[in-house]
């Protein structure tokens, strides 16, 4: 087994991983391509992208109006 050391072991493990991979299907739209799901996913992605900006603007606006004369 003297030849099976170091980089060869890593290479074999890598090839094994390549052959062992499967589709994860972690995301709902990856395996569910119905129109409703896609639409909901896009709408919520837009909603979650805009919300932090609106919150930050709202907080700063409130603080300005409340505490800056």
């Amino acid at each position: 087994m003297g030849w099976f050391t170091g980089i060869k072991r890593i290479g074999l493990a890598y090839v094994g991983l390549l052959y062992g991979t499967r589709i994860a299907m972690a995301c709902s739209v990856c395996f569910e391509s119905k129109g409703d799901v896609r639409q909901a996913f896009v709408a919520t992605a837009v909603f979650l992208s805009i919300t932090p900006l609106v919150l930050l603007a709202g907080i700063l606006s409130y603080l300005y109006r409340r505490y800056i004369p």
Binding site: V37, A40, T44, L63
Partner: protein, 192 residues
């Protein structure tokens, strides 16, 4: 302000740390509920029949009355805030807010017991899982707010907010969030 120095305009513009912290904390809370609501909407969109067949329907009317109670508890807190520096009447309004929150939480608990008896559990379906997680997350926040209101009530009785009302303001902001998010959840989850 440094001792011995006259107050400057800069000193008067200071935002209380507690208020600032609470506002950013609430921003985090809004993002938490936004994520949960988004998950709910995506799951709902992927299901042909909602609520799924064989699962109990949610008590829309009873929870609607409970919603009115929660909104009333915010209204009494708002009245207490308006009267903070005027009369001792604010203690009564504050107490009513605590009672309103307690009634809401109690009725929610009774509703959950009924739903569990009817077979809606975390494991029964995705519907049950998202319902208990989303509504349960709100219930935990109501519980936290209720504990906060009780602390504020005790401090208010001792006259702690006569000069420094930041603590009261923080509780008011938090309760406003807890009450404000509920009609959204009620509309999304209960009205199908």
């Amino acid at each position: 302000m440094i001792a011995g120095c006259a107050p400057t305009q800069h000193d008067e513009l200071k935002i209380p740390n507690g208020i600032l912290a609470m506002l950013f904390f609430l921003a985090v809370e809004v993002m938490l509920f936004s994520g949960l609501i988004s998950a709910f909407l995506v799951i709902k969109a992927g299901t042909a029949l909602w609520p799924p067949s064989g699962q109990p329907r949610l008590p829309v009317m009873a929870t609607g009355i409970n919603t009115v109670i929660l909104l009333a508890s915010w209204a009494t807190l708002w009245l207490a805030r308006r009267r903070l520096f005027q009369t001792q009447l604010y203690l009564t309004w504050l107490g009513l807010s605590v009672v309103g929150g307690f009634i809401f939480l109690s009725l929610q608990g009774m509703e959950w017991i009924q739903l569990l008896r009817f077979g809606l559990t975390l494991q029964s379906s995705t519907y049950g899982a998202i319902f208990y997680f989303l509504i349960g997350m709100h219930a935990i926040h109501v519980l936290g707010g209720l504990v906060g209101l009780i602390v504020v009530y005790r401090k208010a009785r001792a006259g702690a907010y006569a000069l420094h009302p930041e603590g009261f303001e923080m509780a008011f902001y938090y309760w406003t969030f807890v009450v404000g998010i509920w009609p959204v959840l009620y509309g999304l989850v209960y009205w199908n």
